[in-house]
Symmetry: C2
Subunit: 198 residues, 2 copies
């Protein structure tokens, strides 16, 4: 009977999304998102302060095999780089056909998704919203509110991360502030997979 993995519980502080017993906490500062934001001048102006953009609390280190799940919370701090809202780096899954579930706990924003061909989709994230990332969609989360955006993410433990595609390609759309409100606009610097920019 000792071969069975033992059940366990992680507490998520519902007041702020933190996981006290998280085996891994990742802090992503502006320098970790180098090149992600469209406005390079605004990014450079903030480089000395190098603010925290978001934190990820990994709830588990469950085995990376079919049948297991991993789950984490993401706390994205409010703010902008130029007129572009704070966001996560974004990723595809190393196993492209693995999905990911995002559950809004606090704050407001968007789950921004794109296909490898550059088709864009956006799902509004508010408390109680469960947004589903189907297989093959790259995705990032964007905080358009004045408070922290807190999300719970659940994904197959064998999904893996592909950050490089989005680092190379960017997203086909940006979430920016226009007249005090969030707007999703085309990214003029977007590079379609397999194409070179002019």
């Amino acid at each position: 009977m000792t071969d069975y993995m033992m059940p366990f519980t992680r507490m998520v502080h519902l007041s702020d999304g933190t996981i006290p017993d998280a085996p891994l906490i990742q802090t992503r500062r502006l320098s970790d998102l180098s090149g992600c934001f469209a406005d390079s001048d605004a990014e450079n102006a903030l480089s000395a302060a190098n603010p925290i953009i978001y934190e990820v609390y990994e709830a588990t280190q469950n085995p990376e095999v079919v049948g297991h799940l991993r789950y984490s919370t993401t706390v994205i701090r409010p703010g902008k780089v130029g007129d572009e809202y704070h966001m996560t780096r974004g990723h595809y899954h190393a196993l492209g056909d693995r999905c990911e579930l995002y559950y809004g706990l606090m704050g407001e924003g968007y789950l921004l998704l794109q296909t490898p061909e550059g088709e864009i989709n956006a799902q509004r994230l508010t408390p109680g919203a469960m947004a589903y990332t189907p297989p093959y969609w790259g995705h990032r989360s964007v905080n358009t509110g004045k408070d922290n955006l807190v999300l719970l993410a659940v994904y197959p433990a064998d999904a893996g991360y592909d950050y490089r595609t989005i680092a190379d390609q960017g997203f086909a759309a940006l979430v920016v502030e226009r007249d005090g409100k969030p707007e999703i606009v085309p990214n003029p610097r977007f590079v379609k997979a397999g194409l070179q920019p002019e």
Copy 2:
């Protein structure tokens, strides 16, 4: 590009755990749990009223294949049958090596787990508790509080259900009220897999 499954969002009412756009809502009354509770006389006395024990709101009908997730909320009403607290039927997964994540949203209770050999484990469910059911553990949820116990469940979409094993075998432990408090006690009627009761 039309071959990609489209992203979508389901709202979970954080006030009560209901999912208004759920494609499937299952209502489980006492008669649906026939034989689950230990006290047959108490069960018979309630049979005319046939109270609702719990409801399940399926958030999605995502494809039952590797890489997808399904998720649902369970709302277990407070109450007892004899001295045994309201609970779900309980299940193993048809694919035994698939896990399941339970996230406590409201109320209090236990995730009760057992191996096929009858080893018991219990994880306390409170708001913010994320209890992990590793592969091969049968599991049921028990409401030991005075209000609804509301849980979010997330599981690999290909996990499937095996209700029969628990219907035949029962759980090796019961969660009962003793001196006004919940207590986990051995189930005298438990049948170890492959064994006959005396």
